[in-house]
Point group: none
Chain length 209, copies 4
DNA sequence: AATGAATGAGACTTCATTCAT
DNA sequence: AATGAATGAAGTCTCATTCAT
């Protein structure tokens, strides 16, 4: 029953048509290079019309991206809180176990607007979302490093390696979202990768001892 | 003996000074948003001067990025050729074994100009290098899929999963390069991740049987 | 019993509310820079509503300013007529005597809508009222010059000086109106200044002989 | 030998031609309503050309007006300092005597660029010079009021009247400048008016006693 | 080899005004 | 009577690019 194709703008509200057009233009050109006039014209209006609905080009961009960005940040904060609730000494080791089960939730958040996700990751230069993934990665790294200093067997696996693995994990996640694969595939892939990581990391740790 | 700092433009040729300045500006603003005038001024010239050395802004960008882009593409082609030389039936399984040993070479290629690599991955919107990583990923996926259709035991591990794992691997590689870590750390991380992947994938395959 | 404050728009007619809001906006921004939308919104309507009552922004401006402008012009014409009724030879000398007694009337006209007066003087750039004071001054100057050529003792006081004195007088008058002082103070000031002028001019004339 | 008429832009530098054109446009339309494009075109260029010489429309406006504005403010500060050097008790009465002799200097400052003066007074809405005359008047009023509170015979003439007289004096001065009369006439008028004021005020004071 | 002047297209944004409802 | 949507012209400003010197 998915009745509406991407280019079928006929029966949408003006605001929605603008957003739909903006989504496509931002995806194609990125925030900075997407001309407002093209956004307006593709939506079937003149550029002045946009300003009846959005205060600025940036505002329009955020109308698309903020819902996803804010929701995912909130979810990550919750996960971090859950990690912090773990006993300090085992926190480092248990991070993966805490993290992985939340992956489907994160996937669902990002899939709720795949284009928005792609925009945040790929087309946000010149907006407040620029460097979004880097900030997430930084926070993860900080969390991991903090846990590592409090861990019993800190260093049994190189902290940097752990760091990179987590980054790679998150990065792969976003790649998957923007790659266009469907939800089930993404979840399955993430789980498989999760297993690969767990087995691999465990093996790595034993070897280090 | 690395005598020259990044900001020491005094004794470089005009062309090199322009390239050096462009490198920094492109990194800071991205290709589209970097003003030619700023590039010129930071190099100690006026913007007109650039056009004595480069036909256009794009040309200047490619002067920085093409060497890396072309070299890495060539290397990947070689690796692919090596894979194609494997017997069809085992090709799928052996891809990892073929791939991993070349990682240090790829690292060295990318590290030869870390900024250029970063530009290709991060700041190339609006140029022919836009989507560089995606194209590499696509080619990898095609190669894997081709191998899978010819494999004896295709599906012993989900083709898609393999695909994503390879993607994640490449992606992590580029992340590492642009993260600023030094060569030894990068190599070590890649090897560790390689081991994680191998152990994990092997375990996954046994489980599937 | 002045029951209504400036911001109490509740029980006014739509037209009056628009005019009231326009008055404030024109005062704050000037005619050109005052946005019609702000005028409308401050009045509690949308901008389209204005055009049910006024043909254009300019029309709205004139709805506020024309009553004052026209009344004062008419009054000045009457005064001029009264001057012209004086015998030619003494007309120059008697101009002041004719003029001064009318000042309170002029004051009352201008004070009937102090904001409108201010708008005409200060915020009318881009309208037909631009240069209103200059035009009045020009007419005064013409009148004086005409009288001077017919006067017995023309030049007993420099014609230009007389001209400027009259101008200064009018100018001071408008300054007083727009300065916010109350009617009594304004009248008193004008009378005082009138006496200063009379005494001063008389002295000047004696000296010239 | 004044060889150049206002419209003879042929042999001027680009910057000067832009300034000359801007002067005329600002005079005709005021700062806000003067279109940069017209300024540029009247000067014989495209609008982009202006930005090689001025950072913004405002900057261009100030290039014309600041020299006059700053010089006159400085001069008035000097005069105020001279007044402050008077013994407190006679300061109020001596203000006129201190002020009048400086009038020719002020006239010369303003006549150095009559158009700029006109712009500051008449066309500066939307710039930092908006309300220039009001600020000067305020400062004068403050000075007078201060002197009045310290005077021996404060109130022998109504403070407000004195205030208005001074304002009228300054106002007349600027009117004269912008009226187009020549220097000698202006000086002569100001002196005559000065005498009128002195005689008139003295008479007023005697009468009050 | 390099400058500095200038262009011309195009960027975002504002706003008076119209009109169907 | 009033709205709300939309227009279209115009606004300031940026920038890659050209070219005479």
């Amino acid at each position: 029953m998915a009745r509406r194709k991407q280019s079928d703008l006929g029966d949408m509200s003006t605001r929605d048509r603008i957003i739909e057009s903006a989504r496509n233009c931002f995806l194609e050109y990125g925030f900075q290079a997407a001309p407002l006039r093209k956004i307006a014209e593709d939506a079937g209006f003149t550029s002045g019309a946009l300003f009846g609905y959005f205060d600025s080009k940036e505002d329009l961009f955020y109308a698309i991206t903020d819902p996803i960005a804010e929701t995912v940040v909130k979810k990550l904060d919750e996960i971090r809180a859950e990690m912090d609730a773990q006993p300090e000494k085992q926190r480092l080791n248990s991070m993966g176990q805490v993290y992985y089960p939340h992956i489907p939730e994160i996937v669902d958040i990002l899939l709720a607007d795949r284009d928005a996700t792609k925009l945040i990751v790929t087309g946000s230069k010149g907006t407040k979302h620029e460097g979004f993934l880097d900030r997430i990665a930084d926070r993860n790294a900080t969390e991991i490093n903090k846990a590592a200093t409090q861990a019993e067997n800190a260093g049994s696996i190189e902290q940097q390696t752990m760091d990179i693995l987590m980054d790679g994990y998150v990065s792969t996640l976003f790649n998957l979202i923007t790659s266009g694969k469907d939800r089930d595939t993404i979840i399955k892939c993430m789980e498989a990768i999760g297993r690969v990581y767990e087995v691999g990391i465990t093996a790595l740790m034993k070897k280090e001892k």
